[in-house]
Structures are given as structure tokens and as C-alpha cells.
């Protein structure tokens, strides 16, 4: 299939100007779960972007909506969850309203995914080679022999020794760390432009976690692949990400360059989060902790979702919801940084 057979067609779809455009743009994403007792809003008006080749860390407590955001992007929300609002653009063209078959062609080819548990991500009944080959032939125009050669190359690239022999082995013959390497190879099959890595190291031993993170970092730098790295481990983010988005109760609390957010956290929640990380060399009797717990989806307070736990809460926080307010390289959704408040204060 050459470009000659298909004269350039201008799609009637919504497209954006191409100059300097982000690889992925999420605008005002809303995800809802209809239940018998009303609609639960799991993700509420989330916007962010990822530039080509960039690593965006997404951090937050369990239930903050990190994984759901990832699942929404690749169109794999589990019913009855659904995207109730917002738009998602990949390379400037809208993907959240695509028919399932078109979205399937994007999954694996343009956007790869890695999930938490490598032990259960692979089908136990097929050799890893078969699973690699079927993924390759689904997305790339290759025959079986070519696909197998590519599969061996991929296994070598993710650091599996003796790939010519290992390709015919079954998942149970690999250790946890090796299996996660195979999973990464599967995500890389069609050279995607973005990888969504959902807690890729949580299920692994600490010593192996570092290896896998280093591998992911190296591969993405080599291939120019962007990564959306979802984790609750601030250490992994600090080591890997270019920018970080902090999520709380289905919203983004703060997003900015990783050094900036770690060194000079703005949002009181981020400040609390950083305070709760133990650091070597600083002698503290007790780690700081944030009082209370993240609200359940059916009990998210009015105004700022963090206001019942916030040490700096004031009246406006309880009635009005803050949007992301730019603060230098960072953006933060907190009324403390509103210009009006500054003038008043």
C-alpha cells in the first residue's frame, strides 16, 4: 500500500493545527459510573497533555482515578463506567468518540499499555512467542517468519537472555521480573508513540522494580516513546518522569515539572504527600501524615475536594471549586494561588 494509491483525504474529523502540538491531549475528561443510587463521578473535569517522547507521571492514592484515566484513553473502561464528557486527542485527531474497531487499531499500534501484574497479564496457555507474533501480525504488515524475527529482537531488547530459545517458552517458565519484561516487549510490538504504564512495578520485588524502571526509561528514550506512568510511588516518579500530575478524588490537584513539584510543592495536598515520604539524611522522629482519608465517590464535598483535610482551608474552598491556575511552570487547583485572593490577602 503506497501513498500513491490513496490520494490525501482531508478528514472531516475534528483536527488541530499541527505545529508544536502535544502527542496526547485530554480535555475536561469526565468518567461516570451509573449505579442504582445515582451516578458516581469517578473522574471530574481532568485536563492534561503529554508531549512526544515525554514521561508524564500520574500519582495519587488508590481510587484517585489514575487507572481510570489511563483506561479511558485506550477505550477500555469496564462497563458500566463511561466517558460522560470531555475530549481526547491523539496527534491532533479526536479518539474518544471513535467506533470500537477503529479504537482497537489504535490500541497496541499507537498506544501500548502495561498493567500492574505481570504474573496474570500473559495468557498461560500460549508461548510468549505466539503472543508476541500475534500482536505483531495484528498491527504490522509482516508474515509469520518476519514477525518471529521481530519478536526475538524485542525479547533481546528487553533484556531476556537467549531469546531464540526463550521465545518458545510458556509464561509459567519465566520469573516475575522476566514476565514484566515480556509484557513490555508486547507493548512495544508495533512501536507505539505512547505507552500507558499502570503501576508497572507494584507487584515486583524492590530490587527488580529498579531494573524494570531503568529498562522502561531506556527503551522510551531510544524509541522516542512517550509514557504515561501511573503509580503511587513518588520515588519512581522522581527518578523517571519529566512532569508529574498529582490526582486527588478524580481531579488534578497540581501538575508541573517533576523537580518543581517535588522541591516546591504548591497544593497543600502535594505538600502533605511530599512530607510523608521518608528521605535519607533528614532525621525526623515521625513522618508527617495527612489527617483523614480521601472521600468516597458518593461523598465528595462541595468546593475543593480536599477542603475537609486541608490545613489552609478558608471559606471560599468550601463553596467554589478551583480550576487549574498557572503558577510559573506549574499549574495548581487551589484558591490560595488565585490572584484575587493574593490581592485580598
Amino acid at each position: 500500500m503506497s501513498a500513491m494509491d490513496h490520494p490525501t483525504v482531508i478528514l472531516p474529523r475534528e483536527t488541530r493545527p499541527r505545529a508544536n502540538q502535544p502527542l496526547l491531549q485530554v480535555e475536561n475528561l469526565v468518567v461516570e459510573f451509573p449505579t442504582r443510587r445515582g451516578v458516581l463521578r469517578a473522574i471530574d473535569d481532568v485536563s492534561f497533555h503529554i508531549d512526544p517522547g515525554e514521561v508524564l507521571g500520574v500519582v495519587g492514592e488508590s481510587g484517585a482515578g489514575k487507572s481510570l484515566t489511563g483506561a479511558s484513553i485506550i477505550g477500555l473502561l469496564e462497563p458500566p463506567g463511561r466517558i460522560a464528557g470531555g475530549r481526547i486527542f491523539l496527534d491532533g485527531s479526536r479518539i474518544d468518540d471513535l467506533p470500537p474497531e477503529k479504537l482497537r487499531r489504535i490500541r497496541g499500534k499507537q498506544i501500548g499499555a502495561i498493567f500492574q501484574d505481570p504474573l496474570t497479564s500473559l495468557n498461560p496457555l500460549y508461548s510468549v512467542g505466539r503472543q508476541l507474533v500475534e500482536t505483531i501480525t495484528t498491527h504490522l504488515d509482516m508474515n509469520q517468519a518476519e514477525a518471529r524475527r521481530r519478536a526475538i529482537d524485542l525479547l533481546a531488547e528487553v533484556g531476556i537472555p537467549a531469546p531464540e530459545r526463550r521465545i518458545d517458552h510458556y509464561p509459567h517458565q519465566f520469573s516475575g521480573g522476566m514476565r514484566q519484561r515480556v509484557v513490555i516487549a508486547l507493548a512495544l510490538c508495533a512501536n507505539p508513540r505512547l505507552i500507558i504504564a499502570d503501576e508497572p512495578t507494584t507487584a515486583l520485588d524492590v530490587s527488580i522494580q529498579a531494573q524494570i524502571i531503568a529498562l522502561l526509561k531506556r527503551l522510551c528514550r531510544d524509541h522516542g516513546t512517550a509514557v504515561m506512568l501511573i503509580t503511587h510511588d513518588m520515588g519512581v516518579i522522581a527518578e523517571t518522569a519529566d512532569r508529574v500530575a498529582v490526582m486527588y478524588a478524580g481531579r488534578i490537584a497540581e501538575v508541573g515539572p517533576v523537580r518543581q513539584v517535588i522541591k516546591h510543592a504548591l497544593h497543600p495536598y502535594t505538600v502533605g504527600l511530599m512530607g510523608s515520604i521518608p528521605s535519607v539524611g533528614v532525621d525526623r522522629a515521625r513522618l508527617a501524615q495527612i489527617d483523614g482519608a480521601m472521600p468516597r465517590l458518593n461523598a465528595i464535598p462541595e468546593g475543593c475536594a480536599f477542603n475537609p483535610r486541608c490545613p489552609k482551608v478558608f471559606d471560599r474552598c468550601r463553596v467554589e471549586r478551583p480550576d487549574l491556575i498557572p503558577q510559573g511552570p506549574t499549574a495548581v487547583s487551589c484558591w490560595l494561588y488565585d490572584r484575587k485572593e493574593a490581592r485580598r490577602g
Binding site: 485506550i74 477500555l76 482497537r104 487499531r105 489504535i106 490500541r107 497496541g108 499500534k109 501500548g112 499499555a113 498493567f115 501484574d117 496474570t120 497479564s121 500473559l122 495468557n123 498461560p124 496457555l125 500460549y126 508461548s127 500475534e134 500482536t135 495484528t138 498491527h139 537472555p161 530459545r165 526463550r166 517458552h169 510458556y170 509459567h172 517458565q173 519465566f174 520469573s175 522476566m178 509484557v183 508486547l186 507493548a187 510490538c189 508495533a190
Partner: protein
């Protein structure tokens, strides 16, 4: 592998000896075959002579030992009722039952598995609900009632299909088959549906439950994330993972089909082993009954062996303890 099969076959011999013992012991109490043989007006002397001729005057354990020794050589004695060799009688009836069972098993797998997959994938679909409701009928109606209903509708009212018998059969070697004649095939339809309906609905519900289970697993989610087609996911990845439990149940059910065939064969006057067995009970024809039970036990054992071997074919994890150990957990 060969040692494994040999071990299983040894176990099979023990199982069949036990079955033979129980069967033989039980049948000593079903009635006196001699009475059926010589009629009402025979003298007690005739009676005793007949008992001695049949070896029935010997103690039980002697009778059993002789029976087991003969059975080991494929010799099951002479049918009291028919006066023919039991092995010959059963060999004549075996093809009828096995063809019926094979047809019923084929129906239950070819219909049950696709329906199970369909209702598993389209969980909330209208058609799925219809199939599930319909399957309740198959689960709950007794076999003989289904047979009689089918005869009523398709033979009596509509007159499309024969209501009894096996139609015309053709000998192929020592086997007589009804699969090759039109009347044989037409006669097969109703009994095969009757016998297979319960298994069909059972397999359908089993496959559905397993599909629902497997479709929730992480590797199916990951297969979706890899962008595989729905077809590859449902049939390549999900269905194969449902197969281990399904094969187990299917194996047991095929044994059950042979046993259940007694009822279907009676309803349709199908000239198979089940019908023969029922008639043998009426006449206290012990050699036929014993031979039938041992044959059924043997089939159960062989089917179970086949099922175990199929596990190895389906699931690589079971093959792990041999050969692949070297590559483990590197």
C-alpha cells in the same frame, strides 16, 4: 508418558474387577434364572439338573472366580435367555449404542459450546436470555418425557421421522452402521436429540460460566490493550482457557450418555445394549448383565484416561514437570 498410561491401565483392570465383583454379587439376588428357562411344569429334579449344568450349585466365590477368569479372556459365557454367546450378543448391540452416543455427544458439543460462548460474550443480550431460559427446559425435563414429546410432535402429529427402531443398517466389517443409509440417519435424529439435550444445556451453561470467568481475567484485558481483534480474544484466548474444566465434564458426561442410553433406547426401542440390559434384568440373565456393566465400566475408565491425556495437550503448565524444568524461573 508410556509408563503413565500403563499405570492408568493397571488401575483400570482393578476397577473393572471390583465392578465385576459387585455386579456379580448383586445379580445373585435378582431372581432364579432357571425358573425362566424351564417353565412352570418342570420337576424339582429337572430344576436341580439345570442348576448344575449352569454351575449355579457351586459356592459364590467359585462362580465369581470362574467368571473373572473367563472374562479376562473375553469369554462371558452364554446368555440364559437367548442361548447365544454373550460376547456375540453384545458385539451385535454395541454399534447401535455407540452410534447413538456418538451422535448425542456430537450434538451436545457442536451446539453446546457455541451457545455457551455466545451467551458468555453477549451477557445481557435478548437472545442470550432466550437461550438460557430454553436451557432450563433441557436441564429439568426428564429424558423419557422429552423422548415421548418428540415422538408425539415429529412422528405422530407431523409424521416426519420414524418413532422407533434403527432403520436400515449396513455392515462394515463386524460393525453394523446406520450412518450410511437414509432411513438409518432419519431414525437416529430423535433418539440422539433426546439423549443429547441434557448434555447440550449442561455444556452450554458450563462454557458460559467459564467464559464469564475468563473474560474478567487480566490477560484478556491485556489482550484487548494489545489491540487484538474480538474474534482472536474470544475464540483464541478465552475459549481455550475454558477448555480444561469443560473437557473434564464432557468426559464424565460421555460416560453418562452410555448409561442414560438405557432410557432413550427403551423409549425409542433402539436395539442397543441398554435395551438388551433391561431385557436381561427381566429374565435374570446374569452373564449379559455382568458383561454389560463391565463394558460400561471399561468405557468410563478409557474416557477418563483420554481426558487426562487431553489436559496435557491443552495446558502447558501440566507438561512443565517434564523436560521444561531446565528453563524454569531463570
Amino acid at each position: 508418558m508410556a509408563a503413565y498410561i500403563l499405570r492408568r491401565l493397571m488401575q483400570a483392570v482393578i476397577v473393572m474387577l471390583a465392578v465385576g465383583f459387585i455386579a456379580f454379587g448383586m445379580f445373585n439376588f435378582v431372581g432364579d434364572p432357571v425358573t425362566n428357562f424351564i417353565g412352570q411344569d418342570a420337576t424339582p429334579e429337572d430344576h436341580e439338573r439345570m442348576r448344575a449344568a449352569l454351575g449355579l450349585d457351586q459356592p459364590f466365590y467359585v462362580q465369581y472366580a470362574r467368571f473373572a477368569a473367563n472374562a479376562a479372556q473375553g469369554e462371558f459365557g452364554t446368555s440364559y435367555r437367548l442361548g447365544m454367546k454373550v460376547s456375540a450378543v453384545l458385539a451385535e448391540r454395541l454399534p447401535a449404542t455407540l452410534e447413538l452416543v456418538f451422535a448425542a455427544a456430537a450434538i451436545s458439543i457442536l451446539v453446546g459450546v457455541p451457545l455457551g460462548v455466545y451467551t458468555g460474550i453477549h451477557r445481557y443480550g435478548l437472545l442470550s436470555r432466550a437461550f438460557l431460559t430454553f436451557s432450563l427446559v433441557g436441564i429439568s425435563l426428564p429424558t423419557f418425557l422429552i423422548g415421548i414429546l418428540l415422538i408425539l410432535v415429529f412422528s405422530v402429529i407431523l409424521g416426519w421421522l420414524p418413532s422407533f427402531g434403527r432403520g436400515q443398517v449396513v455392515p462394515v466389517g463386524w460393525w453394523s452402521t446406520g450412518y450410511l443409509t437414509q432411513s438409518g440417519l432419519r431414525s437416529l435424529i430423535l433418539p440422539a436429540i433426546t439423549l443429547g439435550l441434557f448434555q447440550t444445556t449442561l455444556i452450554m451453561r458450563l462454557v458460559r460460566a467459564e467464559m464469564l470467568e475468563v473474560l474478567r481475567t487480566d490477560y484478556i484485558k491485556f489482550a484487548r490493550a494489545r489491540g487484538l481483534t474480538e474474534r482472536a480474544i474470544n475464540f483464541g484466548h478465552a475459549l481455550k482457557n475454558t477448555m480444561v474444566p469443560v473437557i473434564t465434564i464432557m468426559g464424565l458426561q460421555i460416560g453418562g450418555l452410555i448409561a442414560f442410553a438405557i432410557i432413550t433406547e427403551t423409549v425409542f426401542q433402539w436395539p442397543g445394549m441398554g435395551l438388551l440390559f433391561l431385557q436381561a434384568i427381566q429374565y435374570a440373565d446374569v452373564p449379559v448383565m455382568s458383561c454389560y456393566l463391565i463394558l460400561v465400566a471399561m468405557m468410563f475408565v478409557l474416557i477418563n484416561l483420554a481426558v487426562d491425556l487431553l489436559y496435557y495437550a491443552v495446558d502447558p503448565r501440566l507438561r512443565a514437570d517434564r523436560g521444561a524444568v531446565r528453563g524454569r524461573q531463570v
